[in-house]
Symmetry: C2
C-alpha cells in the first residue's frame, strides 16, 4: 500500500507558452486504480512512473494562455499530464471538452476514460445479449457503475458487488437488480442463480466465485484486479480455472487505450443518457493537490463512491 | 491415479439384435484423457461413469448382424458405446466409416474426435494467422500432433512440448520448428521468443509459462489439463493470470461435442492430408480388452505416442 511519505509536493516555475504551446489551469486531476500498477518498476502496458517526476494521468483544465492555433484561451481540454495545477502543452493528445454538455469533472469519469472503459469492455469485449445476467464487481466505482447501468439499458439482469452498505444502497438506486456487500456476503453465496457475463474489476476470490457461477459459454471481461494491486508476493490464480474448458468459457482482457476510436460512438450513445439521467454518476472529490496521495490511497482502500477526483483549481463557472 | 483394481472385466450374454438394432463387433476402443474426468463424481460436460456399468466412449467396429435399415452387415461404424467387444445399437449417434479412406483405427484418432478437436480448437477457437507462432503442449498426443501439423500447413511457426526424447524426436520428424522435452527444459525457458497462440492440453506450470510467453493479444485455446486430472486437492491457478489484462489476452475453452457440425469440413480438409501424408499420425495400440485399464493408466502417465487405442477384435482385412 502506498504511503503519503512516498509522495512529495514540489513547486516549480512555469514558463510562458512558447509558439505552439498553451498553458492549462487544471480544475480536476484523476485518480485511477491503474496508477497503482505504474508504481511498480515493471514493463506493462503503460510505463512505470519515473522517480522524481510528476505523476502523469488524466486531468481536465482550462486554457489560460494559448499560442496554439487549435485551442483558444478559455476553452476546456482533457489531457494526460496528470497531477499538477498548471500544465504546459503543445496539444498532443489533447481533447476538447464542451462544458455545456456536462460538468467538466465528467470528462475524467462517466464521459471520459472510465466511461469508455465500461462501454468498450461490456459491449465490445463482453457482448451481452438481452436477457442475460451480468455481474460486475467494484460496481460502485467509476467503471463498474457505468457497466451496470449500460447493461440495464441493454436489457440485462444486473448484479453488482461493492464494499460498503452505502455503496450497495447506491447500486439499488441505480436500478441494479441485485447488489451485495462482499464484506457481508461472499460472492459465491450471492451468485447461486448463475451469471452469463462477469465484468471483473477486482480479481482474487471474487473471480474464483464468478468462474463457479458462470453458465455455459459465459464470459469474463478482465478489466482490473484492484484486490491484488498491493500484493507483496505473487498470488495464486483461481483453483477452478479448468471450468474454462468444461463450461466453454471465454476470459478476455482489454486496455481502454486500444479503443479510443470508439470514443465518438461512446459519447454519442452515453452522452445523452447522462444528460437525461438514464445514466447517473457520483464523484468523490478531494480538495487540493496536496491531498492527491491521500485520494489515491483512499481509492485503493475503497473510500470512494463513483469517480475519485482531486480538485486543484477553479471549475467551470 | 486410477489403479487396475478400480476396474473389473465382466462377461455378459449378448442378445440377438431386435428389430431396428444391429450387433457390432468392435475392432478398437478409444482411450482418451477426458475419461479420467468422468471417474470423478461431479457434474461436468459429460456425466460421470456409473459404478458397475461399462465405460462408454469412442469405439470402431464392424456390423456383424443388422436389423437396422441404415447400416448393413459388413459396414464399419464409429459409436460411443465404449469398452466392450460386442455392442448392440439402434443406430443413435453412429457414424459410418469408409475403410478405403484410411485404416479403421484412424476413426478414433486423426480422422475422429481427437482430430476434430485439434481442427476446431486451433482454427475456430484460436484463429491463427499465417506467420504467427503457435505453441502446443502434449504435442505428441492424438490432439497435439494434429494441432501442430495443421498449424504448419496454415503457415505458422510451431513449437511443441512433450514428455520424452522419443516424442520430441517424432515432433521434429513431423516438421515442428521447435520441440522440447519439458522434463529437460522448463517451458518458461523454452518459450523466450514469444508465442501468439497457445493450445493447452496440460494446464499447470506449462499454462503459467505460456501466459508469460504470450505476446500482445495472444490467445489460449483451453482444451485440457492432463497434468491436473489426478490432483487430490484443488490446485492453484497461474499466479500471472493478470497478464490477461495487461497483454489483452483471450483464454477460451471449448468441447468438441459442441462442434460436430464441423465434421464434414474437417474430413474434407484433413482427410486428403492424411491420405497424401501431409498430416501424419502414430498410434499406441494395446492388445486385448483386459488391458484397457492399463492403457488408460499409461495414457495418464504419458506412455503413449500419438493416439492410445485398445485392439479388442479383428480389424479390416
Amino acid at each position: 500500500m502506498p504511503q503519503s511519505t512516498d509522495f512529495a509536493l514540489v513547486e516549480a516555475e512555469v514558463p510562458d507558452p512558447a509558439e505552439g504551446q498553451m498553458l492549462i489551469r487544471n480544475a480536476f486531476v484523476s485518480v485511477d486504480p491503474y496508477m497503482r500498477g505504474r508504481m511498480n518498476d515493471v514493463r506493462s502496458y503503460v510505463p512505470p512512473f519515473a522517480l522524481g517526476e510528476p505523476l502523469t494521468g488524466g486531468a481536465v483544465g482550462r486554457v489560460v494562455a494559448s499560442r496554439n492555433g487549435r485551442f483558444d484561451e478559455g476553452s476546456w481540454v482533457v489531457h494526460n499530464l496528470g497531477w499538477r495545477e498548471l500544465a504546459l502543452s503543445a496539444g498532443d493528445g489533447l481533447l476538447a471538452f464542451d462544458p455545456a454538455v456536462a460538468p467538466v469533472s465528467t470528462a475524467l469519469g462517466v464521459l471520459g476514460m472510465p466511461g469508455l472503459t465500461a462501454y468498450v469492455g461490456l459491449l465490445d469485449v463482453g457482448r451481452p445479449e438481452e436477457g442475460e445476467t451480468v455481474y460486475v464487481s467494484g460496481a460502485a466505482g467509476a467503471v463498474g457503475s457505468v457497466v451496470g447501468q449500460i447493461a440495464k439499458l441493454r436489457g440485462c439482469r444486473v448484479i453488482g458487488s461493492a464494499g460498503s452498505p452505502e455503496k450497495v444502497a447506491w447500486l439499488r438506486e441505480l436500478g441494479f437488480d441485485e447488489a451485495f456487500d462482499y464484506h457481508e456476503v461472499p460472492a459465491h453465496e450471492a451468485l447461486t442463480e448463475g451469471v452469463d457475463l462477469y465484468f471483473d474489476n477486482v480479481g482474487g476470490p471474487t473471480l474464483e466465485a464468478a468462474l463457479s457461477a458462470l453458465r455455459m459459454r459465459g464470459r469474463v471481461v478482465a478489466c482490473g484486479a484492484i484486490s491484488q494491486y498491493n500484493a507483496t508476493a505473487p498470488t495464486p490464480g483461481p483453483p477452478n480455472l479448468f471450468l474454462v474448458v468444461t463450461k466453454r468459457l471465454r476470459i478476455e482482457g482489454f486496455i481502454v487505450s486500444d479503443h479510443f476510436d470508439r470514443m465518438p460512438a461512446f459519447l454519442a450513445e452515453v452522452g445523452p443518457w447522462v444528460q437525461d439521467g438514464s445514466v447517473r454518476y457520483r464523484e468523490t472529490v478531494v480538495d487540493g493537490i496536496e491531498n492527491a496521495p491521500a485520494a489515491l490511497i483512499g481509492l485503493l482502500t475503497g473510500e470512494n463512491v463513483g469517480k475519485m477526483l482531486v480538485k486543484v483549481g477553479p471549475g467551470h463557472e
